[in-house]
């Protein structure tokens, strides 16, 4: 497993020039935009980078050789998820530090806990996206996975619109008081919301890992 983690790290490290560009853009943006933007931006970059390791694994028909090394389907998936988790955590953590630096430099007043609880919601969000992409990429290949992701987001959008309409009918016909529910949710402490989201993100990630193990075990190279 250690060998796989090193392989993925070296693969990402080869993209140093890109990373410098990302950081530069992030620093520029952090002074012109809302400070939480930098966290979502970096988490997105982190997600994309960890996912590129899958593309590199499959480049030049790399899988048959990779799976001939002392690696089983399970260890491959464990290593990929651990790497993705740590990678994402690293990018997210770095961005949080940058965010505070930018807030201090901009001399804005802020509540540490408020900023942090907002940041904490980004982490599970991107964990969820990576957790969604990994099994799809393993099953269909990284290229097709991108198209599938776009289709999924399209579907989510359509379902969202339909859901909204359904809710409106529900409010009208069954007199369900959504406003009160939303108000109650709003009244929940932000920290509780953030932590529940983090828990949900991690749970989804673990479920995704189990699915990926199943996919890899069935796969032929």
């Amino acid at each position: 497993m250690k060998g796989l983690l090193i392989k993925d790290y070296l693969t990402i490290a080869k993209q140093k020039k890109l990373a410098v560009l990302y950081v530069f853009v992030a620093i520029m943006l952090s002074f012109s935009m809302d400070s939480s933007f930098i966290v979502s931006y970096f988490s997105l970059i982190g997600s994309l980078l960890v996912l590129t390791t899958l593309t590199y694994d499959s480049f030049d028909n790399g899988y048959p050789f990779l799976m001939s090394l002392p690696v089983t389907a399970k260890t491959y998936v464990y290593a990929k998820y651990l790497f993705s988790f740590l990678g994402l955590l690293g990018f997210w953590g770095f961005s949080v530090i940058l965010q505070f630096a930018s807030l201090i430099l901009r001399k804005e007043s802020f509540e540490v806990l408020d900023v942090l609880s907002m940041d904490v919601t980004f982490f599970p969000m991107f964990l969820f996206i990576v957790g969604l992409m990994l099994p799809i990429s393993l099953k269909f290949g990284a290229e097709k996975a991108r198209i599938i992701l776009i289709v999924i987001f399209g579907l989510v959008f359509v379902v969202g619109i339909m859901g909204k309409k359904l809710l409106e009918t529900a409010v009208k016909d069954y007199h369900i008081d959504f406003e009160t529910i939303i108000k109650k949710l709003d009244a929940m402490p932000q920290q509780v919301v953030a932590l529940s989201l983090a828990g949900l993100g991690i749970l989804a990630f673990v479920i995704s890992m189990k699915i990926s193990i199943g996919i890899m075990k069935k796969k032929e190279f």
Partner: protein, 281 residues
């Protein structure tokens, strides 16, 4: 080391049905045309594909149940698959060091230098020969018990091919229990290193023979139509129609040399054998 009994794998337009055995301490060649089933057999041995039937035992275990530890006993070089082209040799050393407990870094570095493989270039910039040498070096640098090499010399010039065969000979010399399964369509490579050869055609093994027997006892009879008519055919393995008459493959060259002093008998080699076996009747 390897025992395969009626290994079957079915694809839309190809079916594999292979039996073979590789005892410890032997070098076995798997020879056949492109698409004959060499790579499919090797992939099944490595557990990369799931057989549809038959039994398969590699180092005493079903490859589908291989653990990481089991895989450390194997040294693998595949013709069309390897490390990411973005990596350089330093990166590969780091990866191998943490993959194989018995990775011999000193040996690997020395061999890379000896073979002229640069440490500062990414693999993408390696020549075909360099890439092939690296694939074999990766396979032999962790004291594997069994090497599985798929077309390790394909596309190389004579010098590079010899370098690779020398590396394999050195690997074998270190432990008499070590075995190699090597697939190739370049028969002279196999003649130089293999103890025995399996010939595979359209997914089936059509011949298994010791290399010494091929070179010593096999022969090609080149006969006219009339000579062919008179020929005792009991020791003929295959016959192929030629412009001059017939080319016949025999595994009893001496019998024909003794009894038919007037006919042309050429010494056997794997290439001629393939030509007659695959093109014959």
């Amino acid at each position: 080391m390897i025992k395969i009994n009626n290994l079957q794998k079915n694809y839309k337009d190809f079916s594999l049905d292979v039996s073979l055995e590789i005892p410890a301490g032997t070098v076995t060649g798997l020879i056949g045309k492109n698409g004959a089933g060499k790579s499919t057999t090797i992939k099944a041995i490595l557990g990369l594909i799931k057989p549809d039937g038959g039994t398969l035992e590699v180092l005493g275990k079903d490859p589908q149940k291989f653990t990481s530890k089991d895989k450390e006993q194997l040294g693998v070089a595949l013709s069309d698959s390897g490390f990411s082209m973005m990596l350089n040799l330093e990166d590969i050393v780091k990866i191998l060091k943490s993959m194989y407990r018995s990775f011999d870094e000193k040996f690997f570095r020395e061999q890379c230098k000896e073979q002229g493989l640069p440490f500062d270039k990414v693999l993408k910039d390696f020549s075909t020969g360099m890439k092939a040498k690296l694939r074999v070096l990766v396979a032999i640098s962790h004291a594997a018990k069994l090497l599985i090499l798929d077309e390790p010399t394909s596309g190389l010039d004579v010098l590079a091919r010899n370098d690779i065969l020398d590396m394999l000979r050195n690997y074998l010399a270190q432990d008499s229990e070590r075995s190699i399964l090597i697939s190739s369509h370049i028969s002279s490579d196999l003649e130089g290193i293999c103890d025995n050869v399996y010939m595979i055609h359209k997914g089936k093994i059509i011949l298994r023979e010791d290399t010494d027997a091929i070179l010593g006892q096999y022969g090609i009879l080149k006969v006219s139509e009339e000579e062919y008519a008179k020929l005792d055919k009991q020791y003929l393995k295959a016959t192929k129609k030629e412009s001059f008459g017939y080319a016949c493959l025999t595994n009893e060259k001496q019998f024909y040399l003794d009894n038919y002093p007037n006919i042309v008998v050429e010494n056997g080699n794997i290439d001629d054998m393939i030509m007659i076996l695959l093109g014959g009747k």
